[in-house]
Symmetry: C2
Subunit: 344 residues, 2 copies
């Protein structure tokens, strides 16, 4: 960053003190309780319209904003739906899912807050989230055990929803069948006549919760057949892809499930630069069904994933918040469908 | 989502009541003040180690978690750095920047919270953020005016940092020169002998804060020369790209600055499918310097952008939090450097 000279400060005085509801009450000539009733829209107390106007005008003049914390202390919870911010760089598929979900929850008057859980693991993370008193938590199952769920519920969360391959005791579960992604991709390659199948496992951290079950699914798909599956570690890096491509012939492989479309693009380019024909010498399939796969030549085969619709998930959260004692729901998400194009 | 049958609830009783610090005090046989001193690590009060242990054990048994809200009510603020969640799908460049920043702030004991500001604009958004009483706010300047800054400071935020082409009164500013990106790209095309230059403007919402100044910068770069700049609206969609490619010859253009690498990849493919030679018939340059540009053939020229390092930005936030009365700092970020490859 290049610092540039400071302009003269627009307000050279020390920062003023933070206005409180007592200041608003004094200016409006009402009690603090009245201020609280008016500004928090408590419908149960009858307050005349002129008084309401006076309170609002005083709050505006003083720049007073009610404290969500104070409100949630009274109510025991907030309208906050907490999600841990992803620990891996979010791809386009996740970004779109998140946008949709934020809109859908926004329409139900919830606010999505993504919590940057840096370096906290398991129940420690759950305790940090609990301190914000979210009304609902939506988290990867890998980040949360039954104890974490308990901590969140004890601190007032009415709904905990996990996303992952397995359900967590006490929480609603969106079951994502990552193994199914590997199974579909590998079965497709097998059906196209391939028998020596590589499976890319990203070297980047944070992705193993996806890549390990995908690899397991790939092994499952060919178990008991004459085909083999070979694990191929790969960093998202041109040099590493070139090294793997140079080993392609010695490895004796004829196909690869490349984890996702981005790794597939990287590896396909390296294989082409190595003089290998796609799909002749190497059938390639990715996953995620991103636009970029359609722009490659040959066009990239892929596994299309169906993330839960934001609207459905928002409805689940809302239902769960309103019935905190109900039995946990279980939903299967992430239907995996092979999209066959030219690369396989 | 496919619902699958519920397992029997693991705990059929109604949810238990939320444990309070009074419960902890009762179980540990100490006062509530002592509980607060121990669990909030208040160093000023001397409490014996056995008492501390008793309080911690009682809190653990009851599943009690201190309320961040209560703590921030006492302290007047939290360790929360609030950022609005981006309203557009975040690209890889932004994702990496955010990861870095979260780590760097985490090391300074701040927590980054991304707030999903759906449908709120300007000061209304600032008021919603203020309710969480963040100690610092880091927001695009387009989302925040001087009044919003005032609201945040009044509610206890010690530092407001904006990111955008212009500074906002009362806030620290990271000045991003988007016009400079368009200027560099277009000057490069001009220097390569191109005179009829198209500039892609994404049709997608939320990107105009970037695309409008980039287009203005492009116009600036050729003003007073014999070259022209033509605005090319483009949706991130194969059909739209094909239609634009089909109009390429009639438009009489010889080069294009394609907004970023992803739009460049889309348009370059459509131009190639139309039988046009890159860079012969159309020189193409993107921006962001993503890996995918190096994987294309011809390799994509691009503008490399330097986002602020997470560590520097975290240090600025921390400095500002400790000196809330200091004059606003101004820093230029987003240095734009052309990376010339084969497509231009």
């Amino acid at each position: 960053m290049v610092q540039i000279p400071n302009p003269p400060p627009s307000d050279p005085s020390a920062p003023r003190s933070v206005p409180t509801s007592a200041d608003v009450a004094r200016l409006a000539g009402v009690s603090r309780a009245t201020v609280s009733y008016v500004l928090n829209n408590t419908g149960t107390v009858r307050i005349s319209e002129p008084t309401r106007r006076r309170v609002r005008e005083a709050a505006r003049q003083l720049g007073y904003v009610p404290h969500a914390a104070a409100r949630s202390l009274r109510a025991g919870h907030s309208r906050m739906v907490l999600m841990p911010a992803p620990s891996f760089p979010a791809g386009p598929l996740y970004s779109r899912f998140l946008s949709e979900l934020q809109w859908a929850l926004g329409r139900l008057d919830y606010t999505v807050v993504q919590y940057g859980t840096v370096g906290l693991r398991g129940d420690e993370a759950a305790r940090a989230w609990a301190e914000l008193r979210p009304v609902a938590v939506l988290a990867p199952g890998s980040d949360l055990g039954p104890q974490g769920v308990e901590v969140l519920k004890r601190s007032g969360a009415r709904a905990v929803v996990t996303l992952g391959p397995e359900a967590v005791d006490g929480a609603h579960a969106l079951l994502t069948d990552q193994a199914g992604v590997g199974r579909s991709a590998t079965r497709h390659l097998y059906d196209r006549g391939r028998r020596r199948i590589g499976v890319v496992v990203p070297a980047e951290g944070g992705l193993d919760v996806f890549s390990a079950p995908r690899l397991a699914g790939a092994r499952e798909a060919v178990s008991g057949t004459d085909a083999t599956v070979t694990e191929l570690p790969l960093a998202y890096d041109e040099g590493d892809a070139a090294r793997l491509a140079a080993r392609w012939r010695p490895l004796g492989l004829d196909a690869v499930f490349a984890y996702n479309d981005e790794y597939a693009m990287l590896l396909m380019r390296a294989l082409q630069d190595e003089g290998l024909d796609i799909p002749g010498h190497a059938a390639v399939i990715g996953a995620d069904d991103l636009m970029l796969g359609r722009l490659l030549r040959p066009r990239l085969s892929t596994v299309h994933l169906e993330l839960p619709a934001g609207r459905d998930l928002a409805a689940l959260v809302d239902r769960a918040v309103h019935a905190p004692g109900a039995a946990p729901e279980r939903h299967k998400v992430l239907g995996a469908t092979v999209v066959h194009r030219e690369s396989s």
